[in-house]
């Protein structure tokens, strides 16, 4: 196979059409495609409809930098560091249209999209006020057997962006630690962009075929982005940079010029300049060591 889908991070914004619905991989503080998020901000995007199942700093930063025109989400939180400041402000001030969809229902809606079926039944969030609020997502189906089931309607994002551990040039993307629902995002989206810690040969992929969670035929573009989830974790390569997230949240809470300067800094530098400035050699090693430092209490 001679397929070469590799491109550079700088090209990524061109692969995201205007007003595109973009599903972002990762979950909570794990494995969001942060290099891609930064690049969309560098490109000055203000038209992205983000789909974030379990978002954190990815979504907060996109909102803060004015990159989103709309947000579909299950949760956005900075966990121990507090609420998502930019989500709060944008929604409380009526500046950002949102669709809050319970995350498992959103997963199944995306799964339906990936299967090319119009809807899927599920044991859904009966009792949630979000059901009545989103008649475009939740419905019921009556079968010829006489059963009635709650359903979610298929969702097909224009683009999915996920961050993998490694990937070959044909798009076979491997993960070892957290991969959330990234495979289902890739199946559902029309265009799939994989950023990865490193691009490797096909032979290296074939040595661990069980780690390929997204097969290459689903993938359109492959971009090498070391520390591409930073400051989120990418287990087992590196842990969460909680300290950088803490500083970020302080800037977000300060708001105003402090936060504007933070965004401006990101815009003014390339991704490799970002790595040099924020991560550097020593911090990079410590972040890697967080994985080794984590303690299992019983190997059983």
């Amino acid at each position: 196979m001679t397929l070469d889908k590799t491109t550079s991070l700088e090209q990524l914004p061109d692969l995201v059409p205007p007003q595109a619905t973009v599903a972002l991989g990762g979950a909570w503080f794990a494995n969001h495609p942060m290099a891609a998020v930064r690049e969309l901000i560098r490109a000055g995007r203000d038209d992205v409809h983000a789909v974030a199942l379990l978002g954190s700093i990815d979504v907060d930063l996109l909102i803060g930098a004015g990159a989103l025109s709309r947000l579909t989400f299950g949760m956005v939180t900075l966990e121990a560091f507090g609420l998502s400041v930019n989500l709060r402000h944008a929604v409380q001030e009526g500046r950002l249209p949102i669709a809050e969809i319970p995350a498992l229902s959103l997963q199944v809606a995306l799964e339906a999209g990936g299967r090319s079926v119009p809807f899927l039944p599920l044991r859904g969030p009966v009792g949630s006020d979000l059901v009545a609020l989103h008649p475009e997502v939740f419905g019921t189906a009556t079968s010829s057997f006489g059963e009635e089931a709650m359903i979610v309607r298929a969702l097909r994002p224009d683009v999915a962006i996920v961050h993998a551990l490694r990937c070959d040039s044909a798009g076979n993307a491997q993960f070892d630690g957290t991969y959330g629902q990234d495979p289902e995002l890739a199946k559902a989206a029309d265009r799939v962009i994989v950023t990865c810690e490193e691009i490797v040969d096909r032979a290296e992929i074939a040595r661990e075929p069980h780690m390929t969670k997204i097969p290459g035929f689903l993938v359109d573009a492959v971009i090498e982005a070391p520390f591409g989830a930073h400051p989120c974790s990418h287990v087992p390569r590196y842990g969460l940079d909680a300290w950088t997230i803490h500083s970020y949240q302080e800037a977000a809470l300060a708001g105003g010029e402090t936060y504007a300067a933070h965004v401006e800094q990101l815009r003014s530098e390339s991704e490799s300049e970002y790595r040099e400035r924020v991560i550097g050699e020593h911090r990079g090693r410590v972040l890697e060591a967080l994985v080794e430092a984590a303690v299992v209490l019983e190997e059983e």
Binding site: Q92, G94, R123, Q181, V296, E300
Partner: protein, 293 residues
């Protein structure tokens, strides 16, 4: 009687709900110290055969609590991997979920939890994070525990501003009839008491009051109707063995205390813990640099 902090008592009470039930499994997502501590305590004591999953790691063993270490530890000795969607169908949307511990900004007497908005939903006073998978999970798991770091009328409210999720029905017979998983009441565990709801038509009742808390205080601090039994039992206190496990092995840096602090104290406590986590990792880097030189 050993000295303990209130979150330790809450952890021990919740851990009692953690049982090994055959094909049922408990899945953990983002790092929520109190819930994690309860799961680990159960797993290291009476429920060693209980199945745990963390993130995409299924069949994970007990781990040490840590803001940066919980996720990597989950993977280290787990027996399998699965996509959230796959696990979603098995546990969260199926009938194999065991114990869900959820915390929210508000809860009311119907079991409705609010993780969405304080004030009007469309133009809220406080936009909250959203419920992640809680709306489905509270509905489908065998057991549901809602826990709170405060017990007051702003948290246990007459009616939530918005129902992000709700368990309905609650009653065992009604759930059985619908083919829904169940094994017990909905519990609320707070710094004052354990409340339980067994029946859709009846209010929450006080299951037990924590030592030194009188039922009147609990009722006064609760925004919804409570049934008060004539004899209110006292919540079982942690044993020395449980406290030793929690303090020495499960949560040596005290992450579970974090949610019980507020304001500046809270942030400086977090910074302390994170400093310790950084130093541990940095020591490993220094150690390997030494070996290399």
């Amino acid at each position: 009687m050993p000295d303990y902090e209130i979150q330790e008592l809450m952890i021990c009470r919740i851990a009692a709900e953690m049982t090994a039930e055959g094909e049922h499994i408990t899945l953990m997502g983002s790092f929520t110290p109190l819930a994690y501590a309860a799961y680990m305590l159960g797993k290291l004591t009476h429920a060693s055969d209980a199945w745990l999953a963390g993130y995409n790691a299924v069949g994970m063993p007990a781990i040490e609590l840590s803001f940066t270490g919980a996720e990597p530890a989950a993977y280290k000795a787990a027996t399998s991997r699965a996509s959230f969607t796959e696990n979603g169908h098995l546990f969260h949307l199926g009938t194999r979920g065991l114990l869900e511990c959820v915390s929210s900004a508000q809860i009311d007497g119907t079991t409705a939890i609010n993780l969405s908005a304080i004030g009007p939903y469309d133009r809220p006073k406080v936009r909250l994070p959203g419920g992640a998978g809680a709306p489905e999970v509270v509905q489908n798991y065998r057991k549901l525990v809602a826990y709170f770091s405060k017990h007051d009328r702003r948290t246990l409210v007459p009616v939530v501003d918005f129902a992000t999720g709700r368990r309905t029905p609650v009653g065992r017979e009604q759930r059985d009839a619908l083919g829904m998983a169940t094994n017990g009441p909905v519990l609320i565990v707070t710094p004052l008491a354990v409340l339980r709801k067994d029946d859709d038509e009846a209010p929450f009742a006080i299951e037990s009051a924590h030592p030194g808390v009188d039922p009147e205080t609990i009722v006064a601090q609760t925004g919804f109707e409570l049934t008060v039994p004539t004899q209110v039992p006292t919540t079982t206190e942690p044993t020395g063995a449980q406290l030793a496990l929690l303090r020495e092995r499960i949560d040596p840096r005290g992450t579970a205390r974090f949610d019980f602090l507020s304001g500046a104290e809270r942030m400086s406590y977090l910074e302390q813990i994170l400093d310790a986590e950084w130093r541990r990792a940095e020591a490993l880097v220094a150690g390997s640099a030494e070996v290399a030189s």
